[in-house]
């Protein structure tokens, strides 16, 4: 009964004209951001975060979440029409989506992606609503050692699963944690690495770093290597799926939703990995696996359902535990702290309006996304005709003004520029920015939890392994680091055996 009362509270908040307007703005902007190759949801949320200042926190979170899950759909448009994923979670969609477009079925691919995203997003919200409150209630019993272990798990899984080299992922996480030590030490008040600069006393703000790495770095990379893609002249009619399309896709949507939600819920995993897994699963269970990659509709439905469900699942660790599992949710966690809220298991009891307003708005947002995307797919596709050279200055302008506006600080603009340059070099040589940003956000919390734990144990490190929950989580964190290492070792052994 409580659930319905809470949901009723949520809908009473989400249905106010202001919140409806910002939910619409969020999903609309998210779709646009997703449709732009090179600008992912992390960059979109970071760049647009300053716009939400001055809004009530619930309105701001509604808009930011709208951008996040809206971007998941937007990425489909470029995947289908120009064979270039708008963001990494849409990579798998290019395999069959683009082939469908070449066969004149771009409309069907986009339509099924929208419907799959709607179903997955809505089921995801139901599961979020059911799973997050008990998890938060359970997490209230957590002490500093459990929090330390959880944050470590988030960081290690993100660093290991971020794609490319695991060493680079872990290294970026360590760099982020080290940057997180800048500023006044919260426990004894000693300044660290401030070099007598007052701007550094409060530490390095996450937003200028996130905007620099995610947005400016990416834009500089696009200046370095301009995107030259021509949308195919696809007929965008026939957006509603045929009976055969439904028959082919219903299983893919169901499996994609389940995989997406559960993988998205794991700290560090997220939309990209879930879409890969959903596609691989679909290919394995299909009666025609050889057709995958040639334009089968279930090859679009599965990853698209998975990435939308994952973006909802990723909100569970964020809202219930206060631990983000991805670059985008790290930015959202930073946003919560900027709005003066303390993320964590108490968030739902101290600010039920924020959690339940957000949940209710996601039901509405998913409906908006469906309505928006079925008839307006051609309009979103037309953004691909705007040259990227025009979009770059617009996005940089918004980013610079936005970063300044957060604290009216030119120092922060300077930080954005410096991290923009660093982000470009990282992008060029395959160093993932997400672990760095996540570590920067989690760093101070992680250090506090570690020091509090050691205070509790009078300096004995075994406190982390003698408490069952903390020990279990740490075992998972260790497995996250060691698993890719074992895979690499096995591959090396196989290669050597092959050579011999």
């Amino acid at each position: 009964m409580d659930l319905f009362n809470d949901l009723f509270l949520g809908f009473s908040i989400a249905f106010t004209p202001t919140n409806l307007m910002f939910a619409f703005a969020g999903v609309f902007l998210g779709t646009l951001i997703g449709a732009l190759p090179g600008i992912g949801p992390s960059a979109g949320v970071a760049v647009l975060l300053p716009v939400t200042f001055g809004m009530p926190p619930v309105t701001a979170m509604i808009m930011l979440a709208g951008i996040y899950y809206g971007a998941m759909y937007g990425g489909t448009i470029t995947s289908v029409l120009i064979n270039t994923p708008g963001e990494s979670a849409s990579v798998m969609t290019t395999l069959d989506g683009y082939q469908m477009a070449l066969k004149g079925r771009a409309g069907a691919a986009l339509g099924m992606a929208a419907i799959g995203s709607f179903i997955a997003g809505t089921v995801g919200v139901v599961l979020l609503m059911i799973a997050a409150p008990p998890l938060a209630e359970f997490a209230i019993t957590f002490g500093p050692p459990e929090y330390f272990a959880l944050m470590l798990l988030g960081l290690t899984t993100l660093a290991s699963l971020t794609g490319g080299s695991m060493i680079k992922g872990l290294l970026m996480a360590v760099v982020g944690l080290t940057l997180g030590t800048i500023g006044i030490d919260l426990m004894i008040g000693a300044p660290r690495f401030t070099f007598d600069n007052v701007n550094l006393l409060d530490g390095l703000d996450f937003l200028p770093v996130a905007v620099g790495l995610f947005a400016v770095g990416e834009l500089l990379f696009n200046i370095y290597r301009p995107i030259r893609s021509k949308p195919i002249k696809a007929k965008l009619s026939g957006l509603l799926p045929t009976r055969q399309d439904w028959r082919d896709s219903s299983g893919a949507i169901t499996r994609g939703t389940a995989i997406g939600f559960f993988v998205g819920m794991l700290p560090g995993a997220g939309a990209t990995i879930s879409s890969f897994l959903a596609y691989a699963t679909e290919k394995r269970v299909s009666k025609r696996p050889e057709k995958f990659g040639t334009g089968v509709i279930e090859g679009v439905a599965a990853p698209e359902s998975a990435n939308n469900a994952a973006s909802t699942g990723a909100l569970i660790p964020l809202m219930a535990l206060g631990i983000p599992g991805s670059g985008t949710t790290a930015v959202m966690l930073g946003a919560l702290t900027l709005y003066g809220m303390q993320p964590g298991p108490l968030l739902m009891s101290t600010h039920p309006d924020v959690f339940w307003g957000l949940v209710a708005s996601m039901y509405i947002g998913n409906v908006m996304l469906l309505i928006l995307n079925l008839p307006l797919a051609p309009m979103f596709a037309s953004i691909l005709r705007v040259p990227y050279s025009i979009l770059i200055p617009i996005i940089i302008g918004i980013a610079l003004f936005g970063v300044y506006s957060v604290e009216n600080s030119l120092f922060n603009v300077g930080v954005t520029i410096v991290f923009g340059g660093i982000g470009f070099v990282m992008r060029l040589y395959g160093y993932p920015p997400a672990p760095l940003v996540l570590a920067l956000v989690l760093g101070p919390m992680l250090e506090r939890a570690m020091r509090q734990s050691l205070q509790m144990s009078l300096g004995e490190l075994d406190i982390f392994v003698t408490r069952p929950i903390s020990a279990t989580i740490l075992a998972f964190a260790l497995a996250a680091v060691l698993f890719p290492f074992f895979v690499w070792l096995r591959r090396l052994r196989r290669e050597r055996r092959g050579d011999a």
Binding site: P50, V51, F53, G54, S165, I167, K168, L170, L171, V174, V175, L177, T178, T181, D185, M187, I188, A190, R192, F193, V216, L220, I223, Y224, R225, S389, I390, I392, P393, I394, I396, G397, I398, L400, F401, G402, Y404, S405, N408, L410, V413, G414, I417, G420, G421, F424, L428, Y429, Y431, E447, M450, R451, L454, Q455, L458, G459
Partner: protein, 157 residues
């Protein structure tokens, strides 16, 4: 893993060493708990280990014979692209220097004009139009709509 990783490894190694050197002046621990120096020192030690691993892997892979059809050399950089990025970064620094003198909006306009004309080589019409429209849009949103006080220039905005 490429030569760039070796250079990055050396730079990161230097950075972590500098952190250890600076953090050694902080209190390492109190009687029962770590002090402000504990985390930076141990993080840098882990960072140094990971950096050494990365450099080691890069050097090992460099010794391996490369197949003839290796494709694009990951170390090969596009000089024209790098020049464009360097110019864009110079423009960004110039923007930062200009703000106290001419205000945020006008500095942004000049930077965007430089970016679109000098770096991206757009036509005059497209460059001026894009720069002016962007500045008007952000000024409208942040200054007029969100009431953010921004540094103003001699023209009053």
């Amino acid at each position: 893993m490429t030569r760039a990783d070796v250079i990055a490894g050396l730079l990161l190694g230097l950075g972590f060493s500098a952190v250890i050197w600076e953090a050694s002046s902080f209190q390492y621990g109190t009687e029962f708990a770590p002090g402000p120096g504990f985390a930076p020192i141990w993080l840098s030690v882990i960072g140094l280990i990971l950096t050494a691993l990365m450099v080691g892997v890069a050097l090992t892979s460099a010794r391996k014979p490369q197949p003839a059809d290796e494709g694009e050399n990951p170390d090969a950089l596009e000089p024209h692209g790098l020049l464009r990025v360097a110019l864009a970064l110079v423009g960004l620094v110039g923007f930062l220097i200009l703000v106290p003198w001419v205000g945020l909006a006008i500095a942004l306009f000049f930077f965007l004009l430089f970016l679109t004309l000098g770096v991206q080589r757009l036509s005059y019409t497209a460059a001026i139009g894009t720069s002016a429209a962007t500045v008007c849009f952000v000024y409208l949103v942040f200054v007029l709509f969100l009431d953010v006080p921004v540094p103003s220039g001699p023209l009053g905005f």
